[in-house]
Structure formats: structure tokens, C-alpha cells
Amino acid sequence: MTELFHFANLVRAGIRDNQLLWMLVAGFALFPLFTHFADLPFWNDVAMRIMLLGMAAMGLNLVLGYGGMVSFGHAAFIGIGAYCVGISQFFGITNGLFHVFLSIGVCGALGLVIGYLALRTTGIYFIMITLAFAQMLFFLFVSLEQFGGDDGMSIDRADFLVIDLYEPLRLYFLIWVALVLVALGLMFIIRSRFGVTLRAIKSNESRVEAMGLVPLHFKITSYVISAVICGLAGTLFASWQEYVSPDIMHWTRSGEIMIIIILGGLGTLAGPLLGAIVFLLLEEFLPLALGAVAPAYAENWMILFGPLLIMVVLFGRGGLIGLLDKAGFARIGKRKMAVK
């Protein structure tokens, strides 16, 4: 009972950013209980996909929401993380930990190279360059016939030694643990000296320069971190989908992740995960809604999604978290400033 009381107090006082995040994370931990009793095991699959998308969105949010860098190429890192699994298995390496470390290494290195080349530019140039690099990698994988090319390659769930990922819910909780680690990591990073400096760079780069710091170093570092996080999401995604193809790294997927972030709330800890939930729910229910009204066009539900997105951009600043703030349920936008 005290938990409920505490929760009600939180809601009345306005939930803070990290509190909302951990509530959502806890919710995901408890979710399989719910699906078990409601006999809806399919929804575990959806929840896994939400967690993975949310993880990738958290990674991108570091550079986009906190760093102010509009990178349009992060789907490439997700894809490379996934292909690390596929290509390793092609060569007979099935160890899951190896996949993870390979993904971290490759995505980190690639993030460093692309980050260095792209971050010397700003504004529209930066957006276009990240987009172009992502497409370059897309075409690379399309043309690699030995790894399936356009058709992609099927994947066995990775072998994590003691953990058999084919047992029910093992993969679910592996993903959940990764989500927790990423969320923890980001929570620390955002509040650390590095994180506040990164946020300062987004606010006013020349002021940070005037403090004797080199903004580029911070940007590249955050870019590499975000690349690694997206790569991790991709690596786990490969095991979840048991399949990988270049489509996973098409530039429109980068757009999807950005949409998720803005739906939830840019530059917040809980926003990306919240946005992933909203996005996937929309994906499930918009077709149903359209089907009820105009059955012949149920397939074309995207035609609603486009204008919806435009509306969110024009009128829905701050995403869902912004709405919660306005309604008084959350106190995330009005950040408590440091006091003496």
C-alpha cells in the first residue's frame, strides 16, 4: 500500500525525468507477468521490440537531444550491430559475448571516423553528411552478395554460454538487462561533468570554447557513445528477429528513431522509451482505426501518420512528456536548477 501511496504522491508532485524512466523500466520487468495471466504471449514480442527501439532512441538522444547534433545516420550503427551477429555466424562464431564486443568495437571505430569527418561541419551540412554516410553503408551491405545482399541473411539466436536464448523469456530479460545498463549509463553521463559540458555546447558553443575547452572533442566522444549504444541495440535485434537485411539501416529507419524521440520528448531520459511505446502502439492501432472507418484503405494507414507527424512538429513541442508537464503530472521540462 505504501508503494501506491508513494506513487500517488509522485504523480501529484509531478514525476521527475529519471523517476519516469525507472517506472517504465520496472514496468517492462513486470510486463511478462501480465501477458502470462492475460494469455497474450505475442505482446512479449512487441515489448521486446519496444525496448530495442527505445534503446536505440536513447543512444541517438544523447547526440540529438542533449548534444544538439541532428545525425541522420544512426540506423547504420544499428544495422552494423546486427550484421556483426550475422557475419560472425557466417564464419562459425556463435558466441553472443563475442558479438557484443565486436559490435562495440566496430561501431565505436566507425562512429569515430564518421563523427570526425562529419562533426567538422555544422547545420545542414552535418545532417546531409550523416545521411550520405548511412546510405553508403546501406549500399555496401546491399552489394555484399556473400552476406545475402538485398535478401539479407537469417540468424540463429546467439549462444550466450549458460543462457539458452531459445528458452522463453530469456531473450526478453537479456534485452531488459541491456536496457537497464544503457539507461543507467546515460543517467550517469547526462549528470556528469562531461554531460553538462555537452549540454552547454548545445546551448552555446562559443561560450564553452571561451572556457578553454574544445567542443569537437565532446561531440565526437558523445557520437561514439551513441554509435555503440545503437550498435548494441542492433546486435540484440538480430537475435530477436532471427534475420538481418540492409533494410534495417535504410535512412528512413533513422527517421523513425528521430520520430520516436520527438514523440516521447527530446532531450529527456524517459522520452525515448516513452516515444517507442507510443510509436509502436500507433503502428498497431492506426491501421485498425483506419480499417474501421475506411476498410478498403486499412493498408494505407501511413497516410495518417505523415500529417500526424507534421502536427506533432508544429504544435506538439516537447512530445508526450511536454504534454504530461503541461497537465501537471510531470515536472520534467522545468528542470530544478542547482542550488547552493
Binding site: 549528470r191 559540458t197 570554447e209
Partner: protein, 250 residues
């Protein structure tokens, strides 16, 4: 024996196409001195500051800080070498509080900006350092206010505080009184005066009362060239200066 200058400019030249912004400019700023740079609008004062600061590269000539040639050094490198700068248009971090501004600057000063674990804004060491920075300019009681809510004069104060944060040996003040009312101007003048003897200051300012009160020496810049340099007494007698500048100003 004359001490070595903190700042020495030798023969700086800078042109933008046909426009000459800086012409064979030399000057020195001695330790602890308040050296004012005055001249009509468009004389090239801010361009000169940019060249000392490192944001603009001179076509020729050299900038020496404490005897060290700064040629080729980037802005952050020059800051770390001992330059502090306040900007003409307030250049503080608007999305943070005054104290948070100070904390970020303090972390930078301590070389700790690349740490990932402990929260910065609640760190007692950083708060102590940042509070000291704000106290110097009398902003301590408004430390927790978001900068966006601060009055204009307070923002100029914060600007100055951040410039002082790393204990520079040379302070570049680009029109610190800009847009300040009479009270704020007075406050700013007092604080700058309290710095005399402790840090070398190159001051650009149009407020002549403040200039005559603060300046140990003056350099008068017209169309990129130095037309006169000396003490306040010497300059106010100088005919050329009077006609070129002081005569047109109030």
C-alpha cells in the same frame, strides 16, 4: 627596471578585401594595468580583440602573451594560456542557472570536464568554486536563477565572472557596460576597478566616464591604426584625438 608586458602586439595587420581593419598595430599591456582601447565605431576595436582572442587570424604581425608567441594557437589553447574574455553581446549559457554556468566553468578550469561518473551540479567542490566566482561579482544571492530570468546587468556580471573564472593573466573586456543602466554601469566600474593590480586588462568601452576613471593608459584607434597612446592626462590634451574622436562624442 620595467617589468615584461603581459600582452604585446607587434605590427598586426588585417584586411577584409579592400577594407583595412587593422593597420600595423602595436601596443603593450603591463601587469596589473587597465589599458583602455577607444575610438569611433568601425575603428576596428572588436576585430583587434578577435585577433588577440584567436577567432580571427591576422594577415601579419604577432601576439605575445607573457612573452609567448600565440601565433597558430586556437581559441581554447589561448584561454588555457591565460586569456579571459567577456563578449560585447552576452554570451552566457541561457539554458542554465548562474551557478550552473559557474560549475561548468569551474570544471573546465580544473581540467575535469571529461569525467563521466559523479553528478556535476551537486558536487560540493564545484559548487564551492562556482560560488566564489559568482561572489566576486555579487551574483551569489541570485545564483540559482535561470540566466534567462536575470536582468541584463546581471548577465553582464555573469559574463565578467566567467571571464575571470580561470584566473587569467589577461582579461579582454569588450564593452562590458554595453546596454547597462547607470546603476549597473556603476557596479561594473567598481568591480573592474577592484581588479586593478591583480590582472592585466584590455578594455574596450564607449562610456567615457568609466574610461577616464578606470584607465591607467589609453590607446586611441581610428580606422585600424593607432593615432595616440599614453595616460589619460596625455590623451585628453592630444589635439588629433580630440578632433578625431573626443570632439564628436559627448
Amino acid at each position: 627596471m620595467m617589468p615584461d608586458p603581459v600582452l604585446e602586439l607587434r605590427g598586426l595587420n588585417k584586411s577584409f578585401g579592400a577594407l583595412t581593419a587593422t593597420s600595423n598595430l602595436s601596443l603593450t599591456v603591463m601587469p596589473g594595468e587597465i589599458h583602455a582601447l577607444i575610438g569611433p565605431n568601425g575603428a576596428g576595436k572588436t576585430t583587434l580583440i578577435q585577433q588577440i582572442y584567436g577567432a580571427l587570424k591576422p594577415d601579419s604581425g604577432q601576439v605575445f602573451l607573457n612573452g609567448r608567441d600565440l601565433t597558430g594557437l586556437s581559441v581554447p589553447e589561448r584561454i588555457r594560456a591565460g586569456i579571459g574574455r567577456s563578449f560585447q553581446i552576452s554570451n552566457v549559457l541561457m539554458d542554465f542557472s548562474a551557478l550552473e554556468n559557474g560549475i561548468i566553468a569551474e570544471a573546465a578550469r580544473l581540467g575535469q570536464s571529461f569525467r563521466f561518473l559523479r553528478p556535476a551540479f551537486s558536487d560540493p567542490n564545484l559548487i564551492k568554486g562556482a560560488s566564489a566566482i559568482l561572489d566576486r561579482v555579487g551574483l551569489l544571492d541570485r545564483a540559482h536563477l535561470p540566466v534567462g530570468d536575470l536582468a541584463h546587468g546581471d548577465r553582464r556580471m555573469l559574463e565578467l565572472a566567467l571571464a575571470l573564472a580561470a584566473s587569467p593573466s589577461l582579461l579582454l573586456l569588450d564593452e562590458p557596460m554595453a546596454g547597462a543602466g547607470p546603476d549597473e554601469g556603476q557596479r561594473m566600474t567598481e568591480i573592474i576597478e577592484s581588479l586593478r593590480g591583480r590582472v592585466a586588462i584590455l578594455l574596450i568601452e564607449h562610456d567615457m566616464d568609466a574610461v577616464f576613471r578606470l584607465a591607467d593608459r589609453l590607446t586611441v584607434l581610428v580606422e585600424g591604426s593607432v593615432i595616440a597612446a599614453g595616460t589619460v592626462a596625455e590623451i585628453s590634451q592630444n589635439q588629433a584625438v580630440k578632433s578625431a574622436y573626443l570632439g564628436d562624442e559627448d
